[in-house]
């Protein structure tokens, strides 16, 4: 985490500086070139093969997995006429999702949720031109396999459509990839809610904190994706054309649903923290009250016992603890103790500090929408 945070070109570097990352994957370049009727899929080693493909096919999708070879990225930049600043953003993995229009292409940055690995994000950059789509990923493995399958099988209108529809299909896969993650968080929120209501263990606190932090990050990941898709819809670029907008609008709705869910979970989590604190203090209060009552009752009794434990000599004078030799002294002392103890118990009950059983639940209003309680 810390290491990654620190990989930026130093302040004052010329724009478009591509900083090498020693740990980055070697790029693997895979091409899907297709038209309505045919499709060619292969891995290419030499970038020179590209020009032929671009001329021969209506749409060419070039998928670069791994950013470890800056030369390849620079060459691709030259072939497609890409701006140095955009290339810098491809390599520099701190970008917020965004869409930037250039003269003859659109540059899109998005963040893909890892499908199977633990909480992880991968930056996916796209250059969308009239006849090509160029995508960069940090490492192999992505949410695009179903899209590739659709391309190969020619399912739906993906092979009939232009490169912008392909870009939409990939963005849609990226966005929808957040739903399974939110489902898992939804389950977790419900589990924690049950746990907090059942018994407030202290180890719930760091877990609620982690949950809150994760949801915050999730929101921060999804929010700019919404803006990015909105920008694509509003923009009047010749590359992203009208018929695709209705699909992007659907994609936009999905980001709004994701944000809605995240917001709901965030609110519930914040409420759980309060609930936890309140439950902890309720439980503590219960223990304290018991001590308080026991102590308050026994303190005067103990004092009486201590009193008659004093060693004053009853023989020294008739005023000196004559009770000790009084035949009914002991029963009197016990009776005094019982009287004081019972008096305190009654006082506590009268003040409502003990023994008031909580008012029975049936005379309380039911929550609207609650299924009727069985009697």
């Amino acid at each position: 985490m810390r290491e990654r945070r620190k990989r930026r070109p130093p302040p004052g570097s010329p724009p478009g500086t591509l900083a090498p990352d020693p740990s980055a994957h070697r790029p693997v370049i895979r091409v899907f070139a297709y038209g309505p009727d045919e499709i060619e899929e292969r891995e290419i080693a030499e970038l020179d093969e590209l020009k032929g493909l671009l001329k021969a096919w209506p749409v060419t999708w070039l998928n670069v997995d791994g950013l470890g070879d800056l030369d390849v990225i620079r060459q691709l930049g030259e072939i497609f006429g890409l701006h140095g600043l955009a290339l810098e953003d491809v390599v520099n993995l701190h970008q917020r999702p965004k869409a930037e229009g250039y003269d003859d292409h659109i540059f899109i940055v998005t963040k893909m949720a890892a499908m199977d690995a633990p909480y992880g994000r991968e930056q996916v950059s796209m250059f969308l031109g009239q006849t090509y789509l160029l995508t960069f990923q940090e490492r192999p493995g992505d949410s695009f396999d179903l899209v590739r399958e659709r391309l190969r099988k020619g399912r739906g209108r993906i092979r009939q459509a232009n490169a912008d529809y392909l870009a939409y299909a990939l963005l849609d896969a990226v966005i929808d990839g957040y739903f399974p993650i939110l489902e898992r968080y939804g389950d977790l929120v419900e589990d924690l809610e049950d746990a907090v209501l059942r018994s407030p263990e202290p180890d719930l606190v760091p877990r609620l904190h982690a949950l809150r932090r994760d949801l915050s990050n999730l929101r921060r990941d999804i929010w700019p994706q919404r803006d990015m898709i909105n920008a694509l819809i509003r923009d009047t670029s010749p590359v992203m054309v009208e018929p695709t907008h209705v699909y992007l609008r659907d994609c936009y709705d999905h980001t709004v649903q994701l944000l809605d869910l995240t917001e709901t979970y965030r609110e519930v989590t914040a409420g759980l923290f309060e609930l936890y604190l309140s439950n902890v203090s309720t439980k503590m209060n219960e223990v304290m009250k018991f001590l308080t009552v026991v102590a308050t009752i026994f303190i005067p009794l103990g004092f009486i016992a201590g009193l008659y434990g004093m060693n004053f000599d009853p023989g020294a004078s008739p005023w000196n603890m004559p009770e000790l030799r009084w035949p009914w002294g002991y029963p009197f002392a016990l009776g005094l103790m019982a009287a004081v103890g019972l008096g305190l118990v009654f006082f506590f009950r009268y003040r409502g500090w003990i023994g008031n059983p909580p008012t029975p639940p049936k005379d309380r209003p039911a929550r609207p929408g609650e299924p009727p309680r069985p009697d």
Copy 2:
């Protein structure tokens, strides 16, 4: 809940994928075809009957109850020329309320509150064309019976008007269906307020939490409905025309009233939580203070009693507890205890820790608008 959350097509599926839901109801299709003078109402089994109806009548309302047969939905999509994405939204029950304009129809999604069942929502999708209204519901039973009655009896201008007025009437019924729910929550908020002020039982906490959560969900249900109706008003679609806008404006006012009420209840509920915590701590403080005072008074007394319970031999020297044999020893010890105890009581009263009766309420300012207090 969890099951429902997970019913989405996998990320990367082609748009317009209709995912079958095994638990969905079999569709029942009911048609209301009407003009100013006549009305025909029937259930249809074959979709081919539709075309005749659509031609013969000024307005045709097709109400599909149950989404269990994807073929029926697909056929309806073909008959009315509906977009695949909209059909996907009909089946996928996670939509936010929204209104989307297409070339010759408007697609509306709304959420209907269940009338009699416990807290439940049902997604209602509408396609509004020039001469038809197509509505989809999840299951039988809805808030539309009064509207159907108006259609049958020809009450008001509903039979004179176009399909857009019918759509308004249904939306209005959906929106107004939230009022009884909010009334019930209003009663609950007042009941809980009374309960919190009367005595802060711990079981109020999960109930306040549930109430807060419900109100949050309610707000999230109503908020996009407001936007949806606003979009219908602002849109200049040939399908939803000017004369109906004044009715939608009324409907919009109702959503604003609903949101206002929800906001009020949310605020009060948040305040109740604070009030509860404060009342709990007040009550606990009262108990603790009593113990504190009792303990602080008896601790020194007990010490004195313990002192004269020591077994030093007064015969060993004149310095060894001569008080024990002193004729006034016991009265002196009792007097000492009384002095210490009374001294502490006076000290506590002086510091205002006990015995200050709360200042009588009459010398406090009355709340403005409070009815004058009887003396």
Copy 3:
């Protein structure tokens, strides 16, 4: 409160349904018909008299007190050509203040604060046409008496002006009617502030809660009035003309002042709640600390006393409590107790737990703007 909340037409009713309210007042209709030079004021029983008046006078103000007779309201709707939805809003007392433009009139809803009765609001509806103003109130008694007096006496420009100036004058009276209420709340906030700072009694909590709730409601009452007046200013209706706008702008300023005051009081009240909690815990801490110190000092002393109260037989061996027969045993025990007690007192002082008098106020910075403290 609850009863009132429930008086709505059922969901699905046709728009414009006038629901009868059995408890509503019988309407009393009073007319002010006037021009620059003359004025006629009377109560009318038959609505047919109206047409003559409307023709004869430049401006006619029809004031309906009480909504108990739906026929009268329907007839007025026909005479002035009012929309059914607007009439429904007149009768249905849940409206937010608003201004809606119709073809030849404006429909205005506002909420009037009760002048002398306890906290209460009354819905006032107005229809403003070129030559008439039609106002509906729930019950007799209002803030308009000074306006009526101006009409009768012809003070100011009210008789020279059109109906829109009269509408402004009434709205201005409604808005300004909130100032006395806010003054009373201002006094209450200051009283509660004094009370909280002086001594935090538990009964302050429900009062702060009620105050917060009232201020919240007040804000919700005033806020839409601001929007309503703003809508009147921005609208370019032929009925509400330019020269009156400068007056409405003044009225708008008043609503902003009202909101400013309400906001201030709300902030202070929220601060008072925190202040109360902090003061309660300060006071409790003080009591607890005293107990803590007393208990911590006497517990070891009591232990020593208990030690020498043990009944081991000193005669059994020289190791068995020889102190009891030691001539200096008792003074030694007392000395030991004194040493332990004093040691603890010094330890507490050293740790700053007791006896540190609070640092004297003179070496603390004065609050800016505070009058210099007398020495």
Copy 4:
């Protein structure tokens, strides 16, 4: 405060009602009439002198100190053709700062901070025409002396410029007059921060409360001034012309700086309150923990001592407290006590409740930007 709050005309009064304030100062009218080359300054008694001055000089500044004579204000209104509503605002001292354009003049209301007196505000109203500036203040004494000096000495471009530049110069002086106040609050915030961190005395609470309230009021004073200046810049009045806009822009920047500072102080103050509460509870916890440990150790010891203080007769049977006559009874009892006591101490240390010295500060990360700590 309360008295002032209540001085408003009653609701329903005609607009433009000038309510007399018995405590208002008698007006003193001072005129500065000037052109690039000359200046005439005098106090005038008769308003008739005005007309001559207005004709003779390029710019005339009429400064009215004191609002005690409504006749003077009415006459000025007639001479300059001022609107009744504006004159009402001059006298009614509850105005928010604002700028309102009239046909041939602008009406500006601002709030001046008192220079040397304690926390106080004075309402300053200005009417800015082509060749005149009319200013009203509540009482003598203001922040304008340096501006007057500039006029007299002809320093800067003030004598060359029009009346609008003079209005700017006065507004600038009003705005800049808040900087010294914010400086004092800045000092106070730092002092309180030191005090809270050093030792949390209870008397800090009302002071933090007062500070928060003051800063809230300050923000409410400055905020509308920003809007007012912005309105002056955006407005295209013939009176306030383009070349002055660049100066107003500078003035606007100052209001933004003021708001920035206020916001910073408010945030810090809110944080201080939390810090205070946390420090109080830390300190209380420390005391409580000490008691807890002492009590928990001595309670079992006291019990043992009590046990051997029981008076069972060892002669009655060999089971009846034979220890009392056992030669090693006393050492055994002492040893038992020591063992229990030490056991508890070790247990407490093991659980980390006592004796863990706080981890030494050097192994904690330094705050970035902190000067390196001396070792």
Copy 5:
């Protein structure tokens, strides 16, 4: 800090007043004059040399280090035709970052983070004309060395471009200079998070407070920089031309990233404070509960021991403590104590107050995205 805050011209001073600061550095003026092919770099003493340079070279960058000589600043103002207000802002070090367009130049104020010194900001002012860039800094030392190097070496397009590109390069260096600072805060936040979760020491509180304050200030520093760059992009000044906008857009993205990071850290820090308080109270509760349990068990036992320590004379009557002489008296008393003690222990366990080991972590749901726990 305080001293600096107070250095403003007094309210009412003429605009453009340059207030001398006795502690300011003497200015050092360094010129970079360059074209695509050549570059001249030197320090100049006489401002007269400037005119020649300005004529001879396509771009001239004049860098003034130190604001201690107001004459120099005034002369530069005359040479370049700068507005007095802008010059005042150069000297007055309280400016918010901003960009103001003048006729033939743009005035830019920004805040540079100190590179190596502790937390510090330096105001950098720029005047950007067609062929010149004039920059003012408070003191020597800045983030511009890499830019100077690029100029000298002619790396990138900086020497081919106009003065606006140079201005962009400097702004970019200023903005990027905040990234290392945010990295350090990111490390600190993680360190504090670890510390809070590990053990809540009281000294974390002032550190969290300081961190929160620093992050607040940081946000306040960066926020207006974002607006400033946005203003530069939106403005259509002839000085800052279209081709540079794409670079500024990149710079804008960086400010948004900075704000995003700051926001994240602020949220986490706020959460840490709550976490700290909750951990402190958890730990305190643990200690208190132990005391409570020990005390509650021993108090009744101590009472029994005290009872049999009473000195009633068993010989006085058969009712007077016959147990003392009963052969099984002592075992009975011990048994009674054991029974009471064990009874209380069972009662506590039954209520879940002691001995319930926290439910083992394996049966709790894992956090999504958490690496699987080793068993």
